[in-house]
């Protein structure tokens, strides 16, 4: 018996424009590039909506209507949701239609798709709460299963999430976590049998996400019947097959002309052809299957790159420096009581900013470059540090702003009183 558990990540960062040193103190709009570059967030959101979100949602909705057994889950970052609301409201509507079927689960994550857990448990919790509120406001559901940014996992993160009341969370089915064990079972976090874990089946997930259109791959072309066969081969070999991937796989990473949407539409029928197969959402998987063992992760594990660690975001000196400078501002920003300032600072917590600064893959200019809107990791760093310096400058000037506001408030209150007096 194989249950297929599908989760798709939906995320769009607010990319920083090429914010220069000379903008510090004069321009506090960091994300408003409206030109031709790929740092134009409105442009990118529109593009990805047209290529991926809208057609993929349409295919998913068709699948849900055609197959009552079909189920899926999404994790949609808050910063992506707010950009959809701003630039492509029809995307929000189409996700709502999916959720309204009752067979689409929304997972919890940090609002800003951030790395807050690295230094600040407090900020981590606040962003998780913000995200849950946003999901409830838009979709009327409350997330009960958690997925952390880029599937990053460690024992202490599991503990933190368990304390927040989540049933369980997702993680990468990394070989060194599982050792001889299979990712097709449900596991539990170290020292907590009630907090369950679903581990990504990276072989089958990556067959779709990365290899689907690769003509050098011996299995190319990948058809739905072939994929269903691989799923069937797991019968009697576990409980659940976790297919976790970026939603942008459909139409954005694998373009429409690769046949990815046909695959998407044909897959449920082929999977369900086998009487023992079914679909489950992460919550159902956690509730239906017992844990078969404990996962001990003293080190960070993620789903990125071959290393499956944090090196994509935190390995070279510029990344360390940027993270340090970011967290150093937390207390001051929060103390300022300035909501705009707090929002902008939080937008700078998004993991993508640090990903763009990665140099480890820079040598052979491989696929990762595809994901960066900057000419080099150094350009990304320079823009980031300049913007952060502007945040710092605003923090320092915040008390005066407050002072000025209270001055105007007093003034208006006084004039109000004078008017009242005149009227009477």
């Amino acid at each position: 018996m194989s249950a297929v558990c599908q989760y798709f990540q939906v995320h769009q960062p607010r990319r920083l424009k090429r914010y220069t040193f000379y903008d510090i103190g004069t321009d506090s709009e960091y994300f408003n590039d409206d030109g031709d570059r790929d740092t134009n967030n409105a442009k990118i959101t529109r593009k990805v909506a047209d290529k991926c979100y809208l057609p993929a949602n349409e295919a998913m909705l068709a699948n849900l209507k055609e197959f009552p057994e079909f189920k899926i889950a999404y994790s949609i970052s808050g910063i992506a949701l707010e950009q959809f609301e701003e630039y492509t409201p029809e995307v929000v509507e189409s996700f709502k239609r999916l959720v309204d079927t009752g067979r689409v689960e929304i997972l919890g994550e940090t609002y800003y798709h951030s790395l807050a857990f690295l230094e600040s448990p407090k900020e981590f919790r606040e962003q998780i709460r913000m995200h849950a509120d946003k999901v409830r406001a838009l979709f009327g559901v409350r997330p009960s299963v958690f997925r952390n940014t880029e599937l990053i996992f460690r024992n202490d993160i599991a503990e933190e999430i368990a304390n927040l009341g989540y049933l369980g969370m997702l993680a990468e089915g990394a070989d060194h976590l599982l050792e001889w064990r299979k990712p097709t079972f449900v596991y539990h976090a170290k020292g907590d049998e009630s907090f369950k874990l679903l581990l990504k089946h990276y072989k089958l997930s990556d067959d779709i996400a990365f290899r689907f259109s690769n003509k050098d791959w011996e299995e190319w072309p990948l058809t739905a019947p072939k994929f269903a066969q691989w799923v069937n081969a797991h019968n009697g070999d576990g409980h659940v097959i976790n297919l976790f991937m970026d939603y942008e796989t459909f139409g954005e990473h694998q373009w429409e002309d690769t046949g990815i949407f046909h695959f998407l539409r044909a897959m449920p029928r082929e999977i369900l052809r086998h009487a023992d197969n079914k679909f489950v959402t992460p919550r159902e998987a956690l509730e239906q299957y017992p844990s078969v063992g404990e996962i001990d992760a003293p080190q960070y594990v993620s789903w990125a790159d071959i290393e499956r660690d944090l090196s994509a975001w935190k390995s070279n000196p510029i990344q360390h420096d940027a993270l340090r400078a970011f967290f150093a501002l937390e207390d001051d920003v929060k103390r300022s009581g300035n909501e705009d300032l707090l929002r902008d600072w939080r937008r700078l917590s998004t993991s993508d900013h640090f990903y763009y600064m990665c140099t480890k893959w820079f040598h052979d200019g491989d696929v990762h470059r595809y994901f960066s809107p900057y000419d080099s990791p150094y350009e990304a760093f320079i823009a980031y540090m300049n913007a952060l310096n502007d945040v710092r400058a605003r923090v320092q000037s915040a008390p005066t702003e407050k002072h000025r506001r209270s001055f105007w408030q007093t003034l208006s209150r006084k004039s109000h009183a004078v008017l009242e007096a005149l009227r009477s």
Partner: protein, 404 residues
């Protein structure tokens, strides 16, 4: 192989490039005869050195003055007035043509398989040798007239020589895709005839100093940021843009010093420009520096800037990286095609240049990452690879000829 300048007495990248290429080709077993227009002292490479004119040999000092691949007509006229005893022709052109006139004799006596000529100064010599022997000709373009003049005042006669040389050659080697593009667009050459061979750098050369050897500047001890530019002070090198960026930087970061190392016909203009901007006290013109003195400058600087308007290749950023100093280079350069771990800017984008200079000075992490990753990259640009690429071109032209 026909050259014009050669170490140890040279004035620019041409001499260094010839030296590196000759050494590697000889190491690969090529029987190399290297021809220079006049007799002057040269560094040992293992190649047989020939001089088209054995009479009136130059001494070291005269070589530095005359045997420059970057000579201009005005400077030549001035020099030959100063040194009448050397019996130079009345103009640089005469000298180029005299080289060409003597070249067939040299070629016939050596019986080469391939003739390789560097830049316009040697193109007439190469063409004459080809006509005399019927041997295939490879011309190597290190710089075009457009680069040297920054696309402003192209000398028609030099352009004509370049164009003829490129069209008469069987193959053309350029030092970058950037230069290849200029040749295709401005000289009407078929792109399939052109092969790009990036220059190398010798990581063991005496240019590289250990940190202990370097003298740290007094200003640095006082916490100043030090920015360096090094090159001929001509239109091509874009130092006027560098000074404009310097003005922008100093406005917001007063503790920054800008060093300009080099000499050339724009020196006075640049000094006046710095004074006009009111940053005369922040810009230091240190004159023409070479050898260990340059290494010391590299070591001293926090950032090396190459603001060239048009740079076919650009060896200096690699030298800087070998000395662990990060670089900010113009996108209008060949070397920007091979360096990933460098900051890049359009030479005219003064604000962007200033923004990046400040970033490197203000963020040690950026300096550190650019320096270590960049040095690794520079060390991988070995001459060995350059020689292999040249050999490939030689084999192609020889095959082309024998097939006909």
């Amino acid at each position: 192989m026909y050259g014009w300048e050669f170490p140890p007495h040279f004035s620019g990248g041409l001499g260094i490039a010839c030296h590196g290429l000759v050494r590697s080709l000889v190491a690969d077993g090529v029987d190399m005869r290297f021809v220079l227009p006049r007799k002057f002292p040269v560094a040992y490479t293992g190649a047989t050195m020939l001089f088209a004119n054995e009479a009136n040999p130059l001494d070291a000092e005269q070589t530095e003055l005359f045997a420059s691949g970057y000579m201009t007509e005005e400077r030549f006229r001035f020099l030959q007035g100063q040194y009448p005893e050397l019996q130079y022709g009345p103009s640089l052109f005469d000298e180029v043509l005299r080289y060409a006139a003597r070249s067939p004799m040299v070629a016939l006596s050596q019986q080469p398989d391939v003739i390789h000529a560097h830049d316009w100064l040697c193109f007439p010599a190469g063409m004459a040798a080809k006509r005399a022997t019927g041997v295939p000709l490879v011309v190597h373009v290190h710089a075009t007239e457009f680069d040297r003049t920054g696309f402003r005042s192209v000398n028609q006669a030099i352009y004509n020589i370049e164009r003829r040389g490129m069209h008469e050659a069987d193959k053309i080697v350029t030092v970058s895709e950037y230069t290849k593009q200029i040749i295709v667009e401005h000289y009407g050459v078929d792109p399939s005839k052109i092969t790009v061979v990036y220059n190398g750098i010798d990581p063991d050369s005496e240019m590289v100093m250990t940190p202990e050897e370097a003298v740290v500047h007094r200003l640095k001890e006082r916490g100043w940021g030090i920015v360096l530019a090094h090159g001929r002070l001509t239109m091509q090198k874009g130092l006027d843009y560098y000074l404009r960026a310097a003005k922008r930087v100093v406005d917001v970061r007063p503790n920054t010093a800008f060093i300009v190392s080099g000499s050339g016909d724009m020196a006075e203009q640049l000094i006046e420009q710095a004074a006009y901007y009111g940053i005369g006290d922040k810009v230091f013109f240190v004159g023409w520096t070479k050898g260990r003195a340059v290494s010391r400058l590299y070591r001293m600087a926090d950032l090396f800037v190459m603001p060239s308007v048009s740079e076919p290749y650009g060896l200096v950023p690699l030298e800087s990286l070998l000395n662990d100093t990060p670089v900010l280079i113009s996108k209008q350069s060949g070397v920007s095609e091979v360096l990933q771990h460098a900051l890049k800017t359009d030479f005219w984008d003064v604000d962007d240049m200033a923004n990046k200079i400040i970033a490197v000075l203000d963020h040690p992490s950026l300096h550190h990452t650019l320096a270590t990753e960049g040095a690794r990259e520079a060390r991988s640009q070995v001459w060995q690879r350059v020689a292999e690429r040249c050999m490939m071109v030689y084999k192609q032209v020889v095959k082309m000829i024998t097939r006909v």
